[in-house]
């Protein structure tokens, strides 16, 4: 299952990486003579209401969607591991405060907050990173910043149980420093569930980005992402269902294969399993 998923994921990534070289129709090539055409040899995935080629738009959109997913996962994992590790090692009031913070973030209503943050900061970030870059940074930070809490809890729980294990005690008896305990003994053994959580986060971030784009709050309309294309397709569901079908399938395939790859990765990294 993991191998099959890896193949699917590799094909997806390969497709969006070298796709634009093979499929050279520009994403914003408006052709009013070919509006809402179903899939054909000329336009394998059909065209949208402006006659733009959907395959080209999905290839381009996949780059953004996967980049957002992976970056947001990286943000969520980094923050989560840091918070969880500090809480689990320090215990006492540091732990209490960090867990309050985690619970606070968990209890925030995410969507309204996302909307608020995007309205407040979109313009400033655009000024720094440019239109596309600004929105990218904003979306990654917002999605990552709201997804680290489960990772933090997971890592903290792992730390609390692992630090009492005898092999950690043995390292302590040998005179290992705290840093050495964490880096060599506790963290590597805590990472299994984190990897799985991370792959689920990639999937969730892709979906979150789709949601934002679907609500019209993600990237500007002229930049296609999988979610954005889906959003544009919603008004034409009855006359052009393929328009929504292809981006939907792309999201579904990417999310599913990433989840399975995560499962496989965890098993592969476990030395107890003999391959």
């Amino acid at each position: 299952m993991a191998v099959l998923s890896l193949v699917v994921l590799a094909l997806l990534i390969l497709g969006i990486a070298i796709g634009p070289m093979l499929w050279t129709i520009p994403i914003n090539d408006i052709d009013f003579g070919a509006q809402l055409k179903p899939p054909s040899w000329e336009h394998p995935f059909g065209t949208d209401d402006l006659g733009q080629d959907l395959l080209a738009r999905l290839i381009h959109g996949g780059r953004i969607s996967l980049a957002v997913g992976l970056s947001a996962m990286a943000v969520a994992i980094s923050v989560g591991v840091a918070v969880g590790a500090v809480a689990g090692m320090a215990r006492g009031w540091v732990d209490t405060v960090l867990m309050w913070l985690t619970d606070l973030f968990l209890s925030l209503p995410q969507l309204p907050l996302l909307l608020l943050v995007i309205y407040l900061f979109r313009e400033q970030l655009k000024a720094i990173f440019g239109a596309e870059g600004g929105v990218f940074v904003l979306i990654v930070l917002v999605i990552g910043g709201l997804r680290w809490m489960p990772v933090a809890r997971l890592v903290r729980a792992q730390f609390l149980s692992l630090r009492e294990k005898e092999f950690v005690e043995a390292a302590r008896a040998l005179g290992a420093s705290k840093l050495r305990l964490v880096v060599n003994h506790i963290l590597p053994n805590a990472l299994g569930p984190v990897i799985v959580a991370g792959t689920i986060d990639v999937a969730a971030a892709i979906i979150a980005e789709s949601t934002l784009s679907f609500l019209g709050l993600g990237f500007p309309p002229d930049i296609p992402t999988w979610g954005r294309v889906l959003f544009d397709a919603k008004d034409y569901l009855d006359i052009a269902p393929y328009w929504a079908l292809f981006p939907g399938a792309a999201i579904f395939l990417a999310v599913l294969s990433i989840n399975f790859v995560g499962d496989g990765l965890r098993d592969a990294l476990d030395p107890r399993r003999v391959p």
């Binding site: 294990k165 005898e166 092999f167 005690e169 043995a170 390292a171 302590r172 008896a173 040998l174 005179g175 290992a176 050495r180 060599n184 003994h185 590597p188 053994n189 030395p271 107890r272």
Partner: protein
């Protein structure tokens, strides 16, 4: 008492765990895991420490290693107070004291190879200048504990319980310690493997002039390996004596009961079995006076009021019992 200066001397060691409760998280009770333990370990000897599970014997061993912070008391290793050392000094001290754990499945990092596990001590204490030197030392240590050196690239899960315990022993030996706390090192092993590991420990003791604190709940194992034996009950030492004295003439009623429970491999032999009534009391509310009095077959009124001190009765035999000392 003894002619030599003790290698490790423990005085009035206490470890209380606070139990917090209620809305404000106030401390409501103490669990008295170790409640005033005093003992000496002399260079080159094996001191057995026995008692029921939960009597505080492992806690005592871990406090000596500073793996657990003692609540009170004094621990002197070669004259230096272990409880007050910090940082650099504590690390230096850890070269002299090592520990072997009970569970060979939990005491080895599953993600490290045998080489990594044994070499870690060499890295921490900078005991090997080069990678090749470190490798040589790992090979030497594996041979010392009777494992094939070519197994060093394997992971712990590829070994049996007895082999894992040997890896744990090699890890402890890597820093060339003087004292090794053996925390029930054979309790998790099959009987045939137990004998092998105990023989290995005895060989190593002779070869490297090691001193052992041998913690166990199995009296027959302890009898074989120990020079002296301390019996613990509910956080206190109730009797310390040379091994053969303790087995031949136990003085504390608890020791008598323990010994009568050791199976003798002779079905025809009839003997009187002392069965204790009740269970180990809750260490949150230990009995007043002598901790053993609610279960003691010979308890007298004084036992409920005063805790008996550990008193010498004859050469090297110490017992904490009002009735046995007074006679």
């Amino acid at each position: 008492m003894s002619e030599t200066q003790p290698l490790l001397s423990v005085r009035n060691l206490r470890k209380y765990y606070g139990i917090t409760g209620g809305l404000m998280g106030r401390k409501v009770h103490d669990v008295r895991a170790v409640d005033g333990v005093s003992l000496d370990i002399h260079p080159g000897e094996t001191l057995g420490l026995v008692g029921e599970s939960g009597c505080g014997k492992s806690t005592t061993g871990r406090c000596m290693m500073r793996l657990i912070e003692p609540s009170a008391g004094e621990i002197r290793f070669n004259g230096k107070d272990v409880t007050k050392t910090e940082g650099h000094e504590l690390r230096a001290l850890r070269r002299d004291m090592q520990i072997i754990f009970q569970d060979p499945f939990a005491s080895l990092n599953p993600r490290h190879t045998v080489r990594d596990i044994i070499a870690e001590a060499l890295v921490i204490h900078r005991l090997a200048a080069t990678r090749a030197e470190r490798e040589d030392r790992v090979i030497e240590l594996l041979e010392t504990v009777g494992l094939r050196p070519d197994l060093r690239t394997r992971f712990p899960h590829e070994f049996s319980g007895g082999q894992r315990q040997r890896i744990g022993i090699a890890r402890a030996l890597a820093v060339q310690p003087k004292l090794i706390v053996c925390d029930e090192p054979v309790s998790a092993l099959d009987v045939s493997i137990q004998a092998q590991v105990i023989n290995l420990l005895e060989d190593l003791q002779e070869r490297f002039n090691l001193t052992y604190l041998f913690i166990a709940h199995d009296l027959s194992v302890v009898e074989h390996i120990s020079d002296r034996i301390a019996v613990m009950y509910l956080g206190r030492v109730v009797e310390i004596a040379p091994a053969h004295d303790l087995y031949r003439t136990p003085q504390h009623p608890y020791t008598e009961a323990l010994l009568s429970a050791v199976p003798i491999p002779d079905p025809k032999l009839k003997r009187k079995r002392i069965v204790l009534k009740g269970e180990l009391p809750n260490p949150i509310r230990p009995p007043t006076g002598c901790h053993f009095h609610p279960r003691c077959p010979i308890a007298q009124p004084i036992c409920t009021k005063e805790a008996p001190p550990l008193t010498q009765t004859n050469a090297n035999h110490h017992v904490a019992c009002h009735l046995r000392v007074a006679v």
